[in-house]
């Protein structure tokens, strides 16, 4: 059962103050089996409003399963999760509808005034894509398509933004731009954000808090207090990076 918890707006003051903010996500003893194998095994999790949380884990550790449960796309075998009503997902692929122009993709499923073109264009402007509002999805580049998918998530004013490896299919340069865009948009709108990624650098660049999923439960829960805007490198960054990689089973590089 997914219920609604305090879908009130919350402006993030600072990373540490976020712990005092209302709870946006609460998951209790989540268990999910696939073919007899427990992928999630009694997982507990809470995320506060305005918090940007990165979820790390090896392949098959259940990151995406957890995100899908929070998105309402999958149901746990046991346990319960509560999320705000306004929650949206950006998938690894843009998943745009090829038969609708970009702006109609953005307002997909909305009704009445919410489905107006100017609202879609405003959301597209936020991701720097308003000039492509009337284009067909097939004519977009990979980065543009993913920005359109981001606009589609933002136009719903989510209280919980779920990102499932949203940059994994992008080239390195586009990825850096998208990471900055996400960071500034989340700062401006202040939803609770959960990003699933296997990229430790990405997690450290974006997140207030890094979770590491192992054996179906949260094995590491670490607050990241690096100053913003962040960049890769530096002693503190490298120390965190080495730590997290070690937790993921990757020994320090040669």
């Amino acid at each position: 059962m997914l219920n609604v918890v305090a879908p009130q707006s919350w402006r993030k003051a600072s990373a540490s103050a976020a712990t005092l903010a209302p709870v946006s996500v609460r998951a209790e003893r989540l268990t999910r089996h696939f073919g007899g194998r427990p992928v999630l095994d009694g997982l507990d999790l809470s995320i506060h409003a305005g918090e940007f949380v990165a979820l790390l884990g090896a392949s098959g550790s259940g990151k995406t399963t957890l995100l899908r449960i929070l998105a309402g796309l999958d149901a746990p075998d046991h346990g319960e999760a509560w999320t705000p009503r306004a929650r949206t997902v950006v998938f690894q692929e843009p998943r745009l509808i090829p038969s609708r122009t970009v702006w109609r993709n953005v307002v997909l499923g909305l009704d009445g005034a919410a489905a107006r073109r100017d609202r879609a264009v405003a959301a597209l402007a936020e991701v720097g894509l308003s000039h492509r509002a009337d284009a067909w999805p097939a004519t977009l580049s990979g980065g543009e398509a993913q920005r359109a998918a981001l606009a589609r998530a933002l136009v719903r004013e989510p209280r919980l933004l779920l990102l499932d490896e949203p940059f994994a299919a992008l080239d390195a340069l586009t990825r850096i731009k998208m990471q900055r865009l996400i960071a500034s948009l989340c700062e401006a709108h202040g939803p609770a954000t959960l990003i699933v990624t296997h990229d430790v650098d990405e997690a450290l660049l974006l997140a207030d808090r890094v979770l590491l999923l192992r054996d179906g439960a949260i094995a590491v829960d670490r607050r990241i207090d690096l100053p913003r805007p962040r960049r890769t490198g530096g002693a503190a960054f490298d120390a965190l990076r080495t730590d997290l990689l070690a937790e993921l089973g990757v020994a320090a590089g040669v």
Binding site: A71, P98, S99, L108, R156
Partner: protein, 278 residues
Amino acid sequence: MTQLSSIADPGPLIPASGRTIVIPARRLSFARRAIGPVAIALLWGLTTGLGWVDPSVLPSPAGLGEGFVRLWTEQDLLWQVGVSLARALTGGAIGMAIGLALGTAAGLSRLGEELFDALIQMLRTVPFLALVPLFIVWLGIGELPKLLLIALATCFPMYLNASAGVRNVDRKVIEAARSFGLAGPRLIREVVLPLALPSLMTGLRFSLGVSVLVLIAAEQINASAGLGYLLNNAQIYQQVDVILICIVIYALLGLAADLGVRALERVLMPWRTGIAAR
């Protein structure tokens, strides 16, 4: 030559460019398409004009022209074709609508597939001609059995293409649409059917073709006009010229249906025109 032992010898170099792809000029496309039909017409004119073939077996172009004029004036050919087309399109519309509905259900849900896929796969191999006497017994000799026969025949190609097209729609896109609040008829209308359109258009092509083919069977049933009626009579009286004229009319109808569907594709799938150019 080199001091490094780990460098692999590339051997002699070959030109990197492959063969140049020659794209035929667009403006001569029509002329190239016409080569086949024109060659056959020439061969036909030559063999019949030189008296190599008995005119009762294969009439000359001139003889066929006379036959055409006779059909046009004495038997009101245009009206007959009109009657047939009206039957084909009415029955076809009913059949395609049913095929589309069943195909969408079978493509979307396991239950739908289990309920009627096996039945349709069995029925679709039944020849239309075998059904004619049954339909006469069940439904009489009016317009209804003709229309139902056409509907039945056109239902299958649309069902097969619609179910395959709907089944092949990207599940991930459907899941995303669901996560953004689309469900039920709205999901089908706004996402599933548009994405299945290429297959639906193939179904439309086949169904339109079948709708005129099945006229031969349908217009055996007490018909007094129509292409099938003309063909059946010509068969009885061995009128080779009438048969050939009907065949040409069928060919032209097929061509018209194809051009019509192509035009419809451009109107209904504007998002695909941009891709083809890329």
